[in-house]
Structure formats: C-alpha cells, structure tokens
C-alpha cells in the first residue's frame, strides 16, 4: 500500500490519527471536477463522478425496463444484451488486438452446442448431460469455445490482416459443415436441437411465474452482460490489454518492449472465443430451438458490424453497436409507416427484410466514412461539446 490516498486513508479508522485531526473533507466546489488524489482513483474503471452516476443510472434503467416494456420488445432487447457479450469478445480481438476475424460465428456456435449438450436431456434424442444449472452451462459454453480458440490460434497467429480474415472465414465454413453433419449434437439442417434450459436454484426461467419468461431471461442476460463488460474493461486496462494494443499499433516495437507477440495473439483469441461461447450459450435460450444454419458468415458479419458501428476498442461501444443491430429488424419493421414505398409484405419490393439487410451495409459504410469511432465516437463528441458549453472549444 504505497500510495494510499488521503481520502482512502481517512476512511479507515486505523489511519485516523494525529496527522489528520478533525479537518472535514473540503466541500466540493460546484462546477469544478474532483481532483485525483491517488493513482488508484486515476486508474479506477469509472474514474469520474459523472461516469459513476451515469453508468449506475443506465444499469438501474436497464434493470427496471422489464416492468414498463412489452414482452416482445423485451425479447429483442434481451437478444441485444446477449449479442453485446459476443460483440465485446470480438472487439477484444479486432479492436484491442487488431486481429481481423470473420470466424466469430464459429465460436458462438461452439459455445451454443457445448452449452446445449451440457444442459441437454440425457434421455433425449441428442447428446446431453443433463446439467441444467445456468452458471455451469454458461461457463461450459465459454470454456469449450475458448479451447476451440486456443486450437485455432497457433495457426492464426502466424498471419495478419487480410490473410487472417480469409483463414477465419474458412473456419466458419468448416464449422458450418461439422455442425450440420454431426446430427447427434446439432439435430442436422432444418431440424435443430433444443437450447439449454435455464434453471436457477431449481426454478426454470422459461416457466412463467410471478414474472414472465421474457422478464426473467432479460434479467439473466443483463446480469451476465454486466459481468462480462466488467471483465473486459479489466482486461483492457491491465497489462494484458496494453500488450494487445501494442501488438495492434506497432508489433516490432512491442517485441522489443518484451511483449511476446504470439502469446498475446493467443490470449486475444482465447478471450474473444470465451466471450463468443458465453454469447452462444445464451443466444437461443429465449427461442428454445436452434439449427446449424444460424452460424454462417452472416452472423460473423453482423458481429463485425456491431464492432464497427459501436466503436472499435471500446466496451461500451460494443454494447451500443449490438443493441442497434438487435433493434434493426424492429426499426425496419417500423419504416413502412414513415416511408410508404417500403412494404412489410415479403412478396413485394422493397420490403422491410431487404431494407434490413441493406441497412447493415449502409450503416457500416456511413460509420466508416463519417464517424470511424462509431457510436462511441458520437458520444465522445457530445460529451466534449457539453464539457465546454457554451464555448465551442
């Protein structure tokens, strides 16, 4: 404890001695930010009062949302929360470590099948071990995907840029084949298998009780997302996160600084895959059934879109991007009432499904051109504007 701050010290009874008589903590001056009095404060995850209050407010609003929102919107939001976990994972790999991967869907799939197998009915038609306790199969899905990541990483770490993207693209194709053909595990094409049953303390969350299924699952997803977001932020500000950024920015210099390039690319892959696996384990719980055709390149591209639209190398940006992508079908479903030439009938053109696909592409292009830092960048602009208001700079 070399750098206990005056404040921290004064809160501990043992330190309250002669050195600090009864001088009360000075009153905060209105309009002036708090000063850091210790490195610990400076290094804190939420290192300013507005950040602390803001995040608290967002979490509280997110937690009470199920009471005021319809169940079908809640289901979409819940999916967004789960996708956020995967987007955070991909952002660790693409944003922080700078390794472009199109293989995220594969790891999501590994997590989904591992979790389903762990929680699955041992007497059922597909592989199942009957352990339907939620933390067990979430971790199981994550660890299975992390192992898959560790197997793939030694090959992938020899490549970079476009070559890595192509290799990871191959992963999706190989994975798609395995998932489709391994019928004992996946149920095969167009059939699918049941998603894991979410059971916490003996009660099945998919059974409506005092709260509906959607409400309970939403809360579960929210809790898991908050945990993963905290873990990811911790990694990002740690020795590991700095090493990942070093590998991304200047790999030669990183090596000369003592950062083992291969090792940190491996860590990036394993962490990213773990988060993908956790995402996969939860992704289909609300639907109940999923088939192998879910883990195609389209899912990978959706994750890339979340990262690019949300903000590269930011955790909060990943969440914003994932929520936007999850809400996109809903947004395009609302479009016909504003833009009459778009129809909601599938046999007419342009219909909302086509518009939805086009919106992915358009959003990626627009963000890359006009705000490469994504939604997070927009937020930063708003913040800086209001910081110096009414002066423009």
């Amino acid at each position: 404890m070399t750098m206990v701050s005056p404040q921290k010290g004064s809160q501990q009874p043992s330190d309250r001695g002669a050195a600090r008589p009864t001088a009360p903590r000075s009153r905060r001056v209105w309009g002036r930010p708090d000063l850091y009095t210790s490195y610990r404060q400076d290094m804190a995850m939420l290192n300013t009062r507005p950040k602390q209050l803001g995040v608290l407010a967002i979490v509280v609003v997110a937690a009470i949302l199920p009471f005021v929102t319809s169940d079908d919107l809640l289901k979409i939001l819940g999916t967004g929360l789960v996708l956020s976990i995967g987007a955070i994972g991909l952002n660790l790999l693409v944003g922080y470590a700078g390794q472009v991967s199109l293989g995220h869907a594969f790891f999501v799939g590994v997590g989904a099948y591992a979790a389903s197998a762990i929680a699955g009915d041992p007497e059922g038609r597909y592989i199942g071990f009957g352990v339907d306790i939620v933390p067990v199969w979430i971790l199981g899905g994550g660890i299975a995907a992390a192992v898959a990541g560790a197997i793939v990483a030694p090959i992938a770490t020899r490549l970079r840029g476009l070559y890595l993207a192509i290799v990871t693209l191959g992963l999706v194709v190989i994975g798609g084949y395995i998932f489709t053909e391994w019928r004992d595990l996946s149920g095969g094409a167009q059939v699918g298998r049941e998603a894991p049953q979410p059971v916490i303390l003996g009660s099945d969350l998919t059974v409506d009780g005092a709260f509906t299924q959607e409400q309970k699952l939403y809360w579960l997803f929210l809790v898991v997302l908050v945990i993963t977001a905290v873990l990811a932020r911790n990694v990002a500000r740690s020795r590991v996160g700095r090493a990942l950024a070093a590998v991304r920015d200047r790999d030669v210099a990183a090596g000369v600084m003592g950062v083992e390039l291969g090792r940190y690319k491996l860590i990036a892959f394993v962490l990213s895959s773990f988060f993908a696996g956790v995402c996969g384990s939860l992704l289909f719980v609300a639907n109940g059934v999923f088939g192998p055709e879910r883990f195609t390149l389209l899912l990978s591209v959706q994750f890339i879109a979340m990262v690019l639209i949300g903000g590269v190398a930011t955790v909060s940006g990943s969440i914003m991007g994932a929520m936007l992508i999850a809400l996109l079908p809903r947004i395009s479903a609302e479009l016909p009432s504003f833009l009459p030439f778009i129809t909601s009938a599938a046999n007419e053109h342009p219909n909302i499904f086509e518009v939805e696909i086009a919106l992915y592409g358009a959003l990626i292009v627009i963000f890359l051109l006009f705000e490469p830092r994504g939604l997070f960048g927009i937020w930063v602009r708003i913040r800086t504007y209001w910081k110096s208001f009414p002066f423009s700079y």
Partner: protein, 291 residues
C-alpha cells in the same frame, strides 16, 4: 550537476580492468547479395556511452536491429554479460535488459503517455490474464506499484504536462522523449539510442543531451548511441566507432576519431579513396576494435 557526481572519466580510466557489458564480435549481416554490416566488433563497458557514427546507409541501425533481435546475423556473436544474445527473440532480449529507441518513432500512437511507459514496464509486471480479468489483489497492487515507477520517469523527463494524452497527438520532440522514457521504464542494462535528436531544433537537442547525461549520471546505464549530430556525439560519447558501408573504419575517443583522415574520407569521400583502398581500411578498423 549530475555529470559531476557521476564518473564520466571512469570508463576511459578503468576500461582495461572492467568486464564489458556488451561484446559484439565479428558480426556479419546480409540481405540476399547485399552485405549490410561486415566484420563489426566492439565492446561496451559499464556506464559507458558508446557512439556509432557513419554516413547514411553505413549500417548503424542494422547493428541495433541485430543487438535487439529484430535481425539475425549470419555470422558472429553478440554477448550481454557473457551470455549469448544473438538468435534469441526480441522479447527475450528485452527481458535480458536491452532497451532501445527507434530512429522513426515507434510509439503506440493510440495509447496515452502513461500507458506507453507502462508498456515499457511490461516485463517487470507479473500477473496473469485471469488476474487481469478480476483486477483484484495482485493485479491492482502491481499496477499501482508500477504506476508509481512510471510517474518517476514522467518527472525525470518532464512529461507531466502530457501524461494523459495519446502520444499520437504530441509534438515530435515530446514523442522522442516519451520513447526515451519508454525505454527507461524497462530498467535496462543497455540502452540503444537511435538518433535521439534527429530532426530537433537547438533547444530540443540541448534538452535531450541533458536527459542523456542525466541517465548516465543517475541511472548508470550503458548506452550505445547512433547520431548524426557530431557536436552532440563529440560532447557526450566516451568512445566512437565510425562505420562506412557496413565496415568499421575506426574506433576511439572523440578526439582521436576527429583527427583520423579515414573518417574524413568516409564522410567526404575525399582523396583517400585512391590511396587507402577499402581492404586497408577494414584491416585497420578491425585492429583498432580488438580489445
């Protein structure tokens, strides 16, 4: 002040009795048919500031790349404290205590000054990925301890005004200083400075010269410096090696080197080209270098 407390005359005086920190012996580096450095040998003694000079393309930076493990020489050996260095990977060499700066700044542009310096301490921070995920106990304690060490370097190099800024946004002279700080954060045994004052104005050069002599005086690090600013080299260096086309021309004190006609010829391409043929120069250089 620092230069008076440190023993700047010591390296010369006790040179014979002390074990060298770094010994480079007969190193040859080729890229295909091009020989970048050929038959380079030198020792660097404890606390010594050894300068390498030579015209553009003489192979000065290549020597740094060989020492720090970016290139592997085809022939010869590099030993640090009596143990072989060549053939090891850059990260392993960094752990042995070799730090360097780069001619064209190689900072992590998106990270803050503090984070860049913390990366310099990467090898001294010991906690794993799982500990990093949780950020409790060991990880947090280590970060605090090393943050303090980094802040001392911030003070040492007067970087306080920029500490929280991404280094990509900083002026050139400050970036050079951050890079020096990042190398210092590694607590090196041997520091390689690749053109520390290239592109700097007089004031910035003087600042950098002061930091370099402070590093010698206060930290006692052996240094090899590649630099084109002759005034700086002649003022700061204990010994100078002159390279030309990858071949050592001569090694000696700044005064000796300045008087050497072969050095003048290497820089100006003078009449000695006719009289002293390259093989002669090579032989003379090698003879000078041998301890």
């Amino acid at each position: 002040m620092t230069t008076t407390t440190a023993p700047p005359s010591a390296p010369g005086a006790h040179a014979a009795t002390r074990e060298p920190v770094l010994r480079v012996e007969d190193v040859q580096l080729r890229f295909g048919q091009v020989t970048a450095i050929d038959g380079v040998s030198f020792d660097v003694l404890p606390d010594e500031l050894f300068a390498v000079i030579g015209p553009n393309g003489a192979g000065k930076t290549s020597i740094f790349n060989v020492i720090s493990g970016v290139y592997r020489p085809q022939q010869g050996s590099v030993t640090l404290d009596g143990k072989r260095l060549d053939g090891a990977r850059p990260a392993a060499i960094a752990r042995r205590g070799v730090a360097r700066t780069f001619q064209n700044i190689e900072l992590f542009a998106n990270l803050t000054v503090i984070d860049n310096l913390m990366l310099g301490r990467h090898q001294h921070i010991h906690y794993g990925t799982l500990s990093a995920l949780a950020w409790i106990g060991r990880a947090r304690r280590q970060e605090l301890v090393h943050r303090r060490a980094v802040e001392e370097i911030v003070d040492f190099l007067d970087l306080a005004a920029w500490r929280a800024m991404p280094v990509g946004l900083l002026p050139y002279g400050v970036q050079k200083r951050v890079e020096l700080g990042r190398a210092l954060a590694m607590e090196p045994r041997l520091l390689l400075l690749d053109e520390p004052v290239a592109g700097m104005n007089l004031e910035e050069t003087e600042d950098m010269a002061r930091y370099i002599s402070d590093i010698r005086g206060e930290l006692g690090v052996s240094m090899i410096m590649v630099e084109h600013d002759m005034a700086l080299v002649m003022d700061l260096a204990d010994r100078v090696m002159v390279l030309d086309f990858g071949v050592p021309v001569t090694t000696g004190t700044p005064a000796q080197v300045q008087r050497d006609p072969r050095v003048v010829a290497a820089y100006l391409g003078g009449e000695l080209d006719a009289a002293g043929d390259p093989t002669d120069a090579t032989a003379a250089g090698a003879e000078q270098v041998r301890p």
